[in-house]
């Protein structure tokens, strides 16, 4: 009956293992897959990422010179960052914050 007693007493007198999340944010691991973004300056709008994306979350229009990703469709698998010939799609380990409305992340190259 008292097998768990040792663990209980050890827990009671040791500091709680909780990471006080909102005050102490743990900085994310360096190659974690957080969310996808593009530095539009050297994107050539070839559309390979659009074809390779398993969730069809990327829309590229050559004439409108726009690259657009829907973070609510994206499954963060990083295939686009690997297949992009110009290596201009970047994956940041920071996860995307929740929002009230779904938004689309659109980049246009002037």
């Amino acid at each position: 009956m008292f097998r768990m007693l040792g663990n209980i007493i050890r827990n009671l007198f040791s500091k709680p293992a909780t990471r006080r999340y909102p005050h102490t944010k743990r900085e994310p691991f360096e190659n974690a897959r957080g969310c996808i973004d593009v530095d539009i300056s050297n994107c050539i709008f070839c559309g390979i990422c659009q074809k390779k994306c398993p969730a069809d979350a990327i829309k590229v229009s050559k004439d409108g010179k726009s690259w657009e990703i829907d973070p609510y469709k994206c499954i963060i698998c990083n295939v686009c960052t690997e297949t992009c010939p110009k290596k201009c799609i970047l994956s940041s380990p920071e996860y995307k914050a929740p929002e009230y409305q779904k938004s689309v992340n659109r980049r246009i190259k002037e």
């Binding site: 069809d56 609510y72 469709k73 994206c74 963060i76 995307k96 929740p98």
Partner: protein, 150 residues
């Protein structure tokens, strides 16, 4: 009354319903209860009963069979309530969007307050989502009270 509003923010009871999720999001929601994240600090308790709950946490893309169950669970919850859609599947159907049995996202069935992106989102993001949903629920109740006063 100030105290009821203040206490509504401080004790959001959560009921979790998985409609068609690959249960990666479900175990992340359960991971929020564990010692490392411990949502009980914010008063969040995972009650299994929609009648006692304020926040409905939904994960997974709704399919044709559980859309009725989802509607039923949503209607059973007493008012002021909020809905949090966890993960890409709940927001837009995610990777299963073109499947024949999947309705794309929870907002096709019930009104959703907060969308948490990610496949699967980290427990920190889920905690943010629930807290944001409760704040939005509180503002909605305050604005309704003001209209009743005029």
């Amino acid at each position: 009354m100030g105290i009821i509003n203040k206490s509504r923010v401080k004790s959001p009871w959560v009921v979790h319903f998985d409609c068609g999720s690959c249960n990666a999001c479900d175990i992340e929601i359960l991971a929020c209860l564990t010692p490392i994240y411990d949502v009980e600090r914010f008063g969040i308790v995972n009650v299994g009963n929609p009648k006692h709950a304020d926040v409905l946490v939904v994960s997974g893309a709704v399919n044709n069979r559980n859309k009725r169950v989802l509607k039923n669970v949503y209607d059973q919850m007493p008012d002021p309530k909020a809905v949090v859609a966890i993960g890409a599947c709940a927001a837009t159907g995610g990777v299963f969007r073109e499947c024949y049995n999947v309705l794309e996202g929870v907002d096709k069935v019930i009104p959703v307050d907060v969308y948490v992106p990610g496949c699967c989102p980290k427990p920190e993001a889920i905690i943010d989502g629930i807290i944001k949903a409760v704040e939005k629920m509180n503002q909605r109740v305050d604005s309704e009270k003001k209209e009743k006063k005029e």
